[in-house]
Structure formats: structure tokens, C-alpha cells
């Protein structure tokens, strides 16, 4: 359960960073997540808080050192999954 919470927090934090990233900002403004683009600073801060909370959850399970290492290790497949989801990976028929 704690694992799941940590994973969701990492995903949420990464999604927030994606929403206010330089390349995607304009799209976010026009989407239903436009509220995130109103203050990129606050969105980034919330993302950072999510990461800290995820790291806290993992350190609760594994202890301090393994918790921090596991944050990076778990983030890799999760962010990869996010990148595959938010980008259009299908071949475009010409």
C-alpha cells in the first residue's frame, strides 16, 4: 500500500512538472489542466512536495539510505511509463 502511494506521488509530481515544462506549457494553458499553468512556480513546488512525500514513504519502508536510492530506482520505470503515455508513439500515415 505504501509502495502504491509512493508510486502515485512520483507519477503525480512528474506529471505536474511535465504540465508546466517549457515545451508543453502552451498546450496545458488550453487544456483542462490550465489551472496548473497559472503559476508554474506553485505547480513545481507541489511537484517537489510530492517527491519529498514519496521519498518519505519509501524511507518509512526501507530506512533512510535505501529509501533515497529506491526513489531514483523506482522513478525510472514510472517516468518512462509517463513519457510513453504523454507522447504520441503511433506511426502517422501519410
Amino acid at each position: 500500500m505504501i509502495h502504491l502511494v509512493a508510486f502515485l506521488l512520483i507519477l503525480l509530481g512528474m506529471f505536474l512538472l511535465y504540465a508546466v515544462s517549457a515545451k508543453h506549457m502552451e498546450k496545458t494553458k488550453k487544456s483542462r489542466f490550465h489551472v496548473l499553468a497559472q503559476s508554474a512556480f506553485i505547480t513545481r513546488s507541489i511537484a517537489l512536495l510530492c517527491f519529498f512525500a514519496a521519498c518519505g514513504s519509501l524511507t518509512y519502508i526501507y530506512g533512510n539510505s535505501i529509501g533515497i536510492v529506491s526513489w531514483f530506482i523506482f522513478a525510472t520505470p514510472l517516468v518512462f511509463l509517463l513519457i510513453c503515455t504523454v507522447n504520441d508513439l503511433k506511426a502517422k500515415a501519410k
Binding site: K23, S65, I66, I73, P77, I83, N87, K90, A91
Partner: protein, 523 residues
């Protein structure tokens, strides 16, 4: 023209990556497999799965065996039977200094004559010392590769102009741009893992390329360093005399009093059956990066608890930390899977980098003239990225088809290298458009057929009694299926990717010809 720092780093990144990229791919793939080496060994030795592990019995029978067969040994080591390895592995250093090793039945304590397969240890040993060369030479080559990897990582970071801007960018079916995006994504996402694993890998083998400190401090035996780093040095002025140790039941009672019910990893004894006899029990539970498993050392003559003998100095802790971070012994199943994923990402990073190198040169080559270098790189790419996994499958297939004994040749390893070499030779004569398709098809076929063949083999030999006894084998088969699915995805998409690159190349060549014709007409 003078290059700026980024251009210089890009040059360094490209050529260092190309120089040892294929070897690094093999090292990364074998390293990733090593996270599951015990599971692979279990898969390859199905006879092990029949033992039910009762650690108390296993420990007592192993102790009794050593008491009879190695009474006057200098030291004992018992790898206590566990779920990972359900047999007792015992080692001892004989009175003359030589070593002996046996595998024991955990119930009866009798010696077992198991198949001489190297199992998952083949991948593990290949990962850090290769195969077929003296181990020191292999380790030096791996160290050089790791050093190159570190250079490639640092130069890659400097070269990458937009790490944060392009962090989430992955454009597909755009030829060179797609490969670059994928290379960047796979590199940046697991960058902390790559830096850690490369640096710790280099640090573990420091004694190979920086031996002078050890030689200066321990001129007679430089490897004394490793003994001292593991345990506090104790001065022994009196020569120990022979005296029977306490029975294992008495010692175990003290251990249970201190720990309660626990799972053991190992038990080791120093100077057994002497007046200086010490016995150390180590728990299986490892919850630290520094491999600081709970241990309990007893005086085997009196049963008294001796103060912790582990070396707790800063340098020893650092050394344990380096090993722990690299081998991830602390990683629980889910975390281990994530480590494995990061390792596979490393393989993708190297593969996409080398494919990008090849594609970039093709696009730059405006004449359709044969270029041996590009031809060779293409073939080596396929032989490494697809040929090596096929060779690994053949290693597993050979395990099911042959019975490897200590007295016979190891057909598993022979088939591994034969298939790998065949893959390269086949790649040399295969036309470019069929290069990936042919070998990927072989990989998919072998992966799927191995899972079914394995099921038939297990049923035929009566190794499956219930769902849990099949799970030991099924987990590896499922992983093979996942990789077969991934290969199928690549196979399905390789054609449109190749077509796009081919069209782009044709357009470029066509426009170059047109420009040339216009210039000739104008003059």
C-alpha cells in the same frame, strides 16, 4: 576551425561509445541478469526444487558434516539452505591452506552430485571478468570498459544541450531524431543508476589499477587488506590447541535466545575445534546499503557471546557501501525488479546510441558507395543487440537438452559462444533489409518455444507437483515471454522506421545529384 567544448565532448562521446559500446552492452545485459542469478540457477537445476528447506535441520546436518570431514580445518563456511538456494553450500580451508567445497543435502547432510552447470553464475562472472581469458585480464578489460562508460556518461551530459527541456520528449518515426530522443530519454531517466553503477563498479576493482597503496601497506600479502576490511584484526600470541567445540544445539540455543526465530544466511567458524574457536551466525535479512546484516559471534568452546568482530571503521563501511550499492543485495523483490529495469534501460541506451551513430553516418554519406566501417558496425550491432540474447537463450536450451557433468565439456557454454559467433557470421552475409527481421524472428521463436519446451521437460521429469513448484520455473519463462513481446514490437515497427530512414536518405542523395547537375549545366 576550433571546436567548442560541447562539440569536443560530442566527438568524445561518439567515438568512446563506439569503441567499447558492444562490450558495454554485453556487460550491462549480463549485469542485469545477475540480479536474478539465483533464480536462473534454480531454473537450470530443477532437481534443487524438490528440497523443502528447514533451516534448523540444514544447519545441524552441515555442521555435523564439517565436524567429521573438516575437523582440523582453519575455517568453515556454511551457506545455509534457503529459498534462494535450497541446498547447503559448504567451504573450508584445510590445515595445509588449500580449499575444499561441497554441496550437501539439507536434510541428510550427504554430499550431492548435482549437474555441473554454472547456472546464473555464468552471466554474473561474465559481467565482471568475461570468459575464456585469465580472470585478471578479463577484469582489466571490464575496468577499461567501465572507465570508457564513465567518460561517455560525463561527455554525454555535457553534450546534451537540453536535459530539462527535452526531459519528457519522445518523438517516434522521425528517423535520426527519434533515435536521439530515445537515447536521451533512456540515458537521462536512469542517469543516477548509470553513474552509481559505473563508479561503484570501478571502485570495486580499485586494487587492479591502483595497487600501490595495498602493496605498500601489506608488502607480503596485499590481499590481507580484504581480510582486515571484513573483520577486526585480532592478535593471536598463543598457538591454539585442539579441543572439541560445543554441540551445535547448544550454540543454536544461545542464538535463538538473542534473536528468536530467524532466517540464516550463513554460518562461519574460525579455528574450529580449537581453544580459539569462534563461530559467527549471520542473518539473511539485509536492510542496509552497507551489507551490515545482523551477526552474532560466539566462543564455540564456552558459548559466550563475543563482541562484534565486524570492522566498523569509516573505510570499511565505505567499502561495504560500494559493494552494496553495486550488487543491490538489500533490494527486495519489487526494488530488485526496478534495478533490473534500470539495467535493461542501460542496454537500450547503449543500443540506441550505437544505432544512432550508424544512422547518422548513413545520412551523412551522400554517395551510395560501400563503406566497410558502416557495414561492420551494422553487423556488430545486430550480433550484439539480438545475437547475444539469442546466445543466452541457447545457453538455457542447452541446459534442458544436455546433462553437464564435471568430467564432461560444458555444452551450455559451448552452445552460448557458438550461437553468438553464428549470429555474427549470419549477420555478415544477410542483406541489410533482412538483418534485423531475421535475427529478431529467431529470438522471438526461441523465447516462446523455450517456455513450452521447458514445461514439457518439467512434466516429463516429474518436477512439477503443484503451482508453487512450477512458479520457480514459470517466473523465468514469463520474463522470456515479455522480452519476446518486446522483440515482436520492435520487429513490427522496424520496417516503418527503416523505410523512413531510407526515404530520407534517397531524398538527400537525389537532391545532391540535382544540385550537382544544375552546377554542371550552369558552367
Amino acid at each position: 576551425m576550433q571546436k567548442n567544448i560541447r562539440q569536443s565532448m560530442a566527438w568524445l562521446h561518439s567515438w568512446t561509445g563506439l569503441l567499447l559500446g558492444w562490450l558495454l552492452f554485453a556487460i550491462f545485459l549480463m549485469g542485469s541478469m545477475s540480479y536474478y542469478r539465483h533464480e536462473i540457477t534454480m531454473w537450470m537445476q530443477p532437481e534443487l526444487a524438490q528440497y523443502d528447506v528447514a533451516q534448523e535441520t540444514a544447519l545441524k546436518t552441515a555442521y555435523q558434516y564439517l565436524d567429521v570431514h573438516a575437523y582440523d580445518a582453519k575455517s568453515w563456511y556454511i551457506g545455509v539452505a534457503s529459498e534462494k538456494s535450497p541446498v547447503n553450500n559448504v567451504y573450508w580451508q584445510k590445515a595445509d591452506g588449500g580449499f575444499e567445497r561441497k554441496t550437501l543435502n539439507p536434510v541428510t547432510g550427504q554430499e550431492l552430485q548435482l549437474s555441473a552447470t554454472k547456472g546464473g553464475d555464468f552471466f554474473y562472472e561474465f559481467h565482471f571478468q568475461l570468459f575464456g581469458v585469465p580472470y585478471l585480464v578479463g577484469r582489466i578489460i571490464v575496468c577499461i570498459a567501465a572507465f570508457i562508460m564513465l567518460i561517455a556518461l560525463v561527455s554525454g551530459i555535457i553534450t546534451h544541450k537540453k536535459i530539462f527541456t527535452d526531459f519528457f520528449t519522445l518523438r517516434t518515426f522521425k528517423s535520426q531524431r527519434s533515435w536521439l530522443d530515445f537515447h536521451n530519454v533512456s540515458s537521462v531517466l536512469a542517469l543516477p543508476f548509470f553513474l552509481t553503477i559505473t563508479f561503484t563498479g570501478l571502485a570495486i576493482f580499485f586494487y587492479i589499477y591502483l595497487p600501490w597503496g595495498m602493496q605498500k601497506l601489506y608488502p607480503d600479502d596485499p590481499f590481507q587488506y580484504f581480510k582486515e576490511i571484513r573483520a577486526k584484526a585480532t592478535e593471536q600470541t598463543v598457538v591454539p590447541s585442539t579441543r572439541q567445540d560445543l554441540p551445535i544445539n547448544t550454540l543454536l540455543a544461545t542464538v535463538h535466545k538473542a534473536w528468536g526465530d530467524t532466517i540464516f544466511d550463513s554460518v562461519s567458524a574460525q579455528n574450529p575445534n580449537t581453544t580459539h574457536s569462534q563461530i559467527t551466525f549471520t542473518q539473511s535479512k539485509d536492510e542496509t546499503i552497507t551489507q551490515n546484516r545482523p551477526t552474532l559471534t560466539l566462543n564455540a568452546q564456552t558459548g559466550e557471546v563475543i563482541a562484534n568482530t565486524r570492522n566498523d571503521s569509516a573505510i570499511a563501511t565505505l567499502s561495504f557501501g560500494v559493494y552494496g550499492l553495486h550488487m543491490a543485495t538489500f533490494a527486495q523483490p519489487l526494488l530488485r525488479l526496478a534495478f533490473f529495469f534500470s539495467g535493461i534501460m542501460g542496454c537500450f541506451m547503449i543500443a540506441s546510441g550505437l544505432l544512432l551513430w550508424s544512422l547518422k553516418r548513413q545520412l551523412q554519406n551522400k554517395q551510395q558507395r560501400f563503406h566497410f566501417g558502416h557495414y561492420l558496425v551494422d553487423r556488430l550491432n545486430v550480433a550484439s543487440f539480438v545475437g547475444l540474447p539469442i546466445a543466452m537463450l541457447s545457453y538455457l536450451f542447452a541446459n534442458r537438452l544436455t546433462d553437464v557433468q564435471a568430467s564432461t565439456a560444458n555444452y551450455e557454454i559451448i552452445s552460448f559462444f557458438t550461437v553468438w559467433l553464428s549470429s555474427f557470421l549470419l549477420a555478415l552475409v544477410t542483406p541489410r533489409q533482412l538483418l534485423w527481421k531475421s535475427q529478431l524472428s529467431v529470438f522471438i521463436f526461441c523465447s516462446i518455444s523455450l517456455a513450452f519446451f521447458n514445461l514439457m521437460y518439467l512434466v516429463q521429469h516429474g518436477y512439477i507437483h503443484n503451482a508453487s513448484s512450477y512458479w520457480i520455473f514459470l517466473r523465468i519463462d514469463l520474463m522470456l515471454m515479455v522480452f519476446a513481446g518486446l522483440a515482436l514490437f520492435i520487429l513490427k515497427n522496424i520496417h516503418p522506421i527503416q523505410m523512413h530512414a531510407h526515404n530520407k536518405l534517397s531524398k538527400k542523395i537525389h537532391s545532391a545529384k540535382n544540385t550537382k547537375n544544375t552546377e554542371v549545366n550552369a558552367s
